[in-house]
Symmetry: C2
Subunit: 250 residues, 2 copies
DNA sequence: ATTGATATTGCTGTATGCAGCTTACGGAAA
DNA sequence: TTTCCGTAAGCTGCATACAGCAATATCAAT
């Protein structure tokens, strides 16, 4: 009975392979896909801060045992997304506002460094991608498609990442992007129109800088928009509680 | 028989609790101590690049099962110290010189940020610690006590860490310290006297800056010495192979 | 003697059982 | 009605058994 244990769970609605259906190679590290999926759920606030992630539950959903799930959760814990408590569960961290400000301040400086530490040149392909992105961004103003907003931002981040020559800096920039995504995401839902405008402006500025082939300019555009978001979040949060930790739903 | 399984292995020479013997609280996350121990062994080149870390071996040595060991190794892998290959083993990464240069360049910039992102004030206690450190550093010139050198540097790093107000920056600064420690450590063994002199100079400069209560000055001292080390490593490595990956022992 | 396929060994990746910890619920006493 | 305590349930942390993969050794064929 316990043989052929590979994916004995719910195969039909496996959320990892929905749509893409990658070949996965041989056994391409089972947990990495699950990791990205769970991280995205946290960033998109489908798992709001304070909610409990149960290992058996996730294991059943993804059709694997607890072991790869634990791997995922431990990685998420080391990156600061969740916190595992013995006997209780693995709890999605609520973002402390002060910690977020620290991260944003650091991100500002890191953004400046993009143009300083061996930046990669802006290629035409990048420009074309950015153009397509801008087009898509202009189209979502009417209908509040938060998922599409998220995807566009993902790709923007992906393009920027390609311009970062310093490997360490690239990794950092990505990591903090995901770490702060939640806070910013919450703001987006609160003020949709403004955020779409801001996104279009950002993409437009980026496009201009990239067409000029000036990676340093790209870096400063990023810096300035991060600064804008930081101020926005500061104003947004100061009205409500400083900490959104209590936003659990259980 | 399998009951009372808590630490049934080699209790006598448990390398984690040698010396310190912390109370450990209730069951304070078994793997964290093992993590630090293994990381230190990698940094001190007791596990040279290319050497294979076997899970059962480590499990036996620390008196636990493979599960916590795997936890440790996965964390080390995510930080770039090792690389797990299915069917082969977990291999200590050899430091790619280019990657190291990227990290050092980034560290230079991060060091500057120490003084800019809400630095903590230099307290008298810090100065006194630093004085003691300088005293110890002056005493090791005669006998080549590499371990003591390492401990002194650890504590220097610990003091600097306390001056970093930005939580995210503090974490980063620590992480990259350990990540680059190996390269630098190798240089130390090659040119002992010079390195002791450099360390004394660094501690002295730090002490002066701290006595002045100027955290920004501390930051710049750190930056400059990192720059010095970077140039040194560049010169040292350029003579030999650019990559020390092949330095395995199997 | 050399080369090719094959068996064997040892490792990591995964699944699962057990123990301890935490919390919640329910009943008894004040 | 309220408070307190004991018990039960559920979760994570750890141990262990199993399956798959990679490398090496072995043996046969040329």
């Amino acid at each position: 009975m316990p043989r052929s244990n590979r994916r004995t769970g719910a195969d039909g609605d496996d959320p990892v392979n929905k749509g893409t259906r990658e070949p996965w190679g041989p056994t391409k590290r089972l947990s990495s896909s699950i990791y990205e999926e769970v991280r995205e759920r946290i960033c998109l606030m489908r798992y709001p801060p304070g909610s409990v992630l149960r290992e058996v539950e996730l294991a059943g959903e993804f059709g694997v045992s607890r072991t790869p799930i634990r791997q995922v959760l431990q990685k998420l814990e080391s990156e600061g997304f969740v916190e595992a408590k013995n006997g209780v569960g693995t709890i999605v961290t609520g973002f402390d506002f002060l910690a977020m400000r620290d991260i944003y301040e650091l991100r500002l400086k890191l953004a400046e460094l993009i143009g300083q530490l061996s930046p990669n040149p802006c290629l035409d392909s990048h420009c074309r991608q950015m153009e397509a992105l801008l087009e898509r961004a202009r189209r979502i103003r009417a209908k509040q498609d938060t998922e599409e907003f998220w995807r566009i931002n993902h790709e923007r981040q992906s393009i920027i990442r390609a311009l970062i020559g310093n490997v360490a800096l690239r990794e950092l920039y990505d990591r903090y992007y995901y770490l702060t995504a939640r806070v910013w995401f919450q703001v987006v839902e609160a003020m949709w129109d403004d955020q779409v405008d801001a996104l279009c402006t950002e993409l437009n500025d980026l496009l201009r800088a990239m067409r000029a082939g000036d990676t340093q300019a790209v870096a400063y555009v990023e810096r300035n928009h991060l600064s804008y978001y930081m101020a926005l979040i500061g104003r947004y949060v100061s009205g409500a509680d400083r900490s959104v930790s209590a936003m659990a739903k259980r």
